[in-house]
Amino acid sequence: MERRAILEELRKVLYPYTENKELLENIDEHTALVKDLKINSANLVDIIIDTEAKYNVEIDFDSAEKIITVGDCINAIAEKIPR
């Protein structure tokens, strides 16, 4: 799956956790989940769980801890899904 396609799917996963929806309009790989999207850091685990369910993958704790930006999230998914 192309990174662009994953980003579009991620936008949907992030939607319920992002209070200000306008912030989601212009996200790119450099967008930071907590700093830029103002997502509550406690909800990062929910975003990872939702992502795991969506792609039927497992993101281990160590990989999850490295997720800061949208790009990190795409990396974690792209690593796991078959090409």
Binding site: Y17, D46, E52
Partner: protein
Amino acid sequence: MNRRVVITGLGVVAPNGVGIPAFLHAIRHGVSGIRHDPSYKDLHFNCQVAGMPEFNWERLRGYVSEITYHGLQGHALGYGIMAALDAWTDAGNEIGGREAIWDTGCVFGSSVSECEVVKKIYNRVDAGEAKKLGSRVIEQMMNSSITAYISGRLGLGNRIIATSAACATGTQAILMGYEYIRQGTAQRMVVGSSEHVDPYIFGAFDSMRILSRKFNDTPEKASRPMSETAGGFVPGSGAGALVLEDLDFALGRGARIYAELLGGACNSGGQRNGGSMTAPASPGVIRCITDAVAYSGVDPLTIDLISGHLTATAADTMEIQNWCLALGRNGRNFPPINSLKSMIGHSLSAAGSIESVAAVLQIVHRFIHPNINLDDPNPGILRQIDPDCLPVKAVERELRTVVKANFGFGDVNACLIFSKYN
């Protein structure tokens, strides 16, 4: 300082009406909220009827942030949030200010965590999938979940207390809120309680053989407080909430005042003298009522209505006797008495707050709601009080003082004295 406490806001999620206008219409006209639930038959319950609010979960989107809404599972949390926020806006307040409101607190009660939600945790953990539980479980499992959601949404910064006292929970929570205002700790308190009887709690009560089981085909007749054919209570769910306020504070902001809360009492029979885990001791009940009346400084003869606990079990006759002894009134001299449970069943911890909302509405709109399903009063009750004290149709009447009491497992009692605001 002699502070007076008034009621300025009301909210309710009841089996026979969600929101004050619907609920007011229902209690005026004796509308039952008891329905048959076919799933209870499949579960082999003896009682197959219940009072469930017609709760539109989607409507909660207007009450909490989307982040909170997403993943919210507890029914009692949904009911409680809606009732409390409705009461807050009904009192003329806005939601979502940026600053903490230091002079306003919250006392809100519930009796049990929801087993349906807990079950999902058990299943995940037992399957080795604790990792998938996510961040939203603990906040809904805390005993203080409901107060955390309400106070967070409203920005309340005074005392935030989650309470539990079985069927006396709601009444006790209201009294605690009253006391914080009386003693000057807070200017306003959002008070109430909520309950959701899920199949697991329902099944446990069913097993105690204290639920109504002979009216499964005629659910609206199943809740029969004080009736000769009463055979147990009907479980109900919902929430009630009130905004209590210091009188001067309310006048200062030009608030509409519904009624005054003169005071109350809360005690236990100590599980002595006939009291037990499940039965209230008469000396404790009588003492609770007489203490509430004495504290409030009302003449028992000016009490115009009793809102009883009256669940439709064998305890109803004893309750009437306790009221007679506590107030020193019987026969034709006994005041009218009604049980909201005839229409909505027994919503356990939520009973006290929903019934208190009903008590205030009866004062404001000058009526006594009917006891439905009371075409055959229990002879043991009629030996103590006149049949005219048991209205079966709504009575239009000016009410000066209304007494509301509830009695809970663990032999705990709570009694409130509401009055018309003068």
